[in-house]
Symmetry: C2
Subunit: 157 residues, 2 copies
């Protein structure tokens, strides 16, 4: 199990490459972000993007899955209080292959809850051409490693 103590400033995690599936990308946009350039090939061609592109929330959700697969499986995750900054830098298109990195910027124990701490990370998603398509700085809450001390095992807050 990966605990708060297992994260150190400067650590870099590499995210596995995932393809952007056209059908899923469009289905997501139809439900959550039905703007013409996200859902309609023809209208997208006439838009300022000139082509069909992914909803930024789809790209963010794909990132989340990559992040879960690399960092959160078997981690003592207590969720996230939020994102400091999210940038959609380049269009993401069907057929793109996204990979990425997560770099630990800072770590600090919670002042309110002795059983957990915050890990601040900067993440980047990169396409097959080496372009950074999305970046974000986000916070994750992780449980602290239990010690022999009973107080360390049980949540206090």
């Amino acid at each position: 199990v990966r605990y708060f103590e297992d994260f150190s400033v400067g650590d870099v995690y590499r995210l596995a490459t995932v393809p952007v599936d056209r059908a899923e990308m469009v289905a997501f946009a139809r439900r959550f972000d039905p703007q013409p350039f996200h859902v309609d090939e023809q209208l997208a061609t006439e838009s300022s993007f000139g082509e069909l592109i992914a909803s930024g929330w789809f790209t963010g959700s794909l990132f989340m899955r990559m992040y879960v697969d690399e960092l959160l499986t078997d981690a003592a995750s207590h969720g996230s209080p939020g994102v400091e900054e999210l940038r959609w830098l380049k269009p993401v298109r069907a057929g793109d292959e996204l990979s990425g990195t997560v770099t630990v910027l800072d770590v600090w124990p919670s002042s309110k809850r002795a059983d957990r701490g915050t890990v601040l990370c900067r993440s980047e998603l990169i396409n097959q051409d080496g372009e950074t398509v999305m970046s974000l700085v986000s916070r994750g809450m992780f449980g602290r490693r239990p010690t022999g001390d009973a107080a360390g095992r049980r949540p206090t807050g």
Copy 2:
């Protein structure tokens, strides 16, 4: 059509209420955020949240749809460069009823592209108990209202 010029600092848009569907919430999490407290009722009960809660990306995506329905339908939207701050403040649960507001914080014409401008908004999602469950400050790009001048009608960049 809603153009850049149609947004003014202090404008408040009210988002229509939407229910959080359990099946959709869990299906989303299985695909994009398969942490125990998002996908498994029993494991969620044993987690620090004590109950099954929505992935923050699902809540964000629901917000996006509410935002599209209220503001972007028939708007000259050119997408978004990003989010300045995103906060998941309270758990979102199946059966919750979310509504919200979008307040215009600032507007400025693009210095690079004469055909568009940026609208900075602070948005809040509120549940049926009046709790703010999510907030975000985001930027949207909108086309400027065409004038009789030909240069105003055509994108310049």
